[in-house]
Symmetry: C2
Subunit: 295 residues, 2 copies
Amino acid sequence: MPDLDRLETYRTDQSKLGQALSQLPATFPRPQEAYAAPFGVVGFGEGWWPAELLAQRIPATLAQGTTFVLAGGFGLGRLQGLITAAREASSRVVIAGPGEEAEIKVDFHPLSPYRYLRFVLEASGESALGSEIDAALMAERERAEPKVATPENPAKLLAWTLLERTPIWVVSERYPMLAPALQQLFARIGKSLSIAPPPSALEFFISALEARHEQGDPLLAVVIGEDEATELALEVLETRVAGIERLAPPKARGAIPEAVAYWYRMAWVSYYLALLYGADPGDHEVMARLREAAQ
Amino acid sequence: MPDLDRLETYRTDQSKLGQALSQLPATFPRPQEAYAAPFGVVGFGEGWWPAELLAQRIPATLAQGTTFVLAGGFGLGRLQGLITAAREASSRVVIAGPGEEAEIKVDFHPLSPYRYLRFVLEASGESALGSEIDAALMAERERAEPKVATPENPAKLLAWTLLERTPIWVVSERYPMLAPALQQLFARIGKSLSIAPPPSALEFFISALEARHEQGDPLLAVVIGEDEATELALEVLETRVAGIERLAPPKARGAIPEAVAYWYRMAWVSYYLALLYGADPGDHEVMARLREAAQ
């Protein structure tokens, strides 16, 4: 098995995802002008999760003032219709994304959800919230970077725990849609399968492993946040899955900074996991091919 | 293995879920009065998916006129705050659910999402759409009922195909949120695990099986609908999963009737699968216990 505390292990990271991870906090496109309220936001592709997070502050709809369109790749022809509708409804439409139609350039990248989020926060008068997020990410980075040796590095330790396991995300309702965001991140960087429950997750946790107990054997419940539903789910799951791993709370204040901090920590974990499997944690060739096919 | 064409196999169905399945089309609480537009809808627990479907017709929000609250169990204390907010915003609040606060009684049941949906359609002037749904369900029932022998019964055949496999739902964007709805149904009735992808599913399908090809061994891609993203996903998945099963389109017109018809067909499939595993397809005792704990 590769040693995460040896430099040569990091040669597998041909696409330099580790560097992008280290540099992520506070790296995003800065607005060059003032935009008029009221604000709205719509997102797809890599933009779906930032749009969900932003919907806690900015309506997830076309606004009369400024609508931010987070056009995160794999448009499959939907983008043009959306832009037309936004231009009819809003006095200003700001498109962010990797494509030619975007005035705010955000490259197609596993970490782009953070960049979309931060740009819109800055552009919509929420820079204080943005700074809270960045502070939370910097605190995560301090403990998760490669130079922190495995025994003191929670991200490296969790990667080892997840090796040859399939995570099932058990997430407090304080962080809606974080589970599918982690499922996506863990696939994109960790190149591995995980299970996000449907809404009304308790029903699912109670019954999904009833018929075939062996389906629980490879599963590791990864627990984020604390609430009554989560505790009830764990009561059921603890006898059915291989293990339960509770993530320590991040140094952050507020549901959005906490959610983004968990996401960033899991990005590090996914990165280390890919290295343990000997896989380049960045995008592979098939992703680029499909991105072109799915303009 | 139990024989799905022998009557004694159905003794396992202690909770009479088969009867509820057969009787489902057109069985729902009828509105006893006229409600005033504009309409809004919010849902949780078993009400989350009908609220998502209805959001294609009725805003998913508190309306000035009538707000329908689909209070589908596992409230965990959220219900009261929601009702208070709805009463402030709307001139009329109609609560449907199993609890005491509900004026429209909908029992806690695996098939209740249909009942919530149909009640609200009928109560909001969408009874034509409701009838389309019922016709689609009746057409499904004709081929899926126990009296139709296995060789002619697509639901029984699909249950056999899914035996000892884990479905991964590959669903066209024509049916948003159908994948998690099926994940929930397959757990609740089939007592089995399945995988719903996150939004922007193509990214996930491309990368989730890269590091450990053996993670694809138990997976069966169940394909619903046809579009470019689905075809691109299958191009990637076909070499990585154990098999691909394309569902035949239902006899239905329009995205909502089609989605509900697929859901109803998969309810039958999940029912037969539970019987093949020798499990009662209805709710088991732990569900009732947790429902009480999670008022």
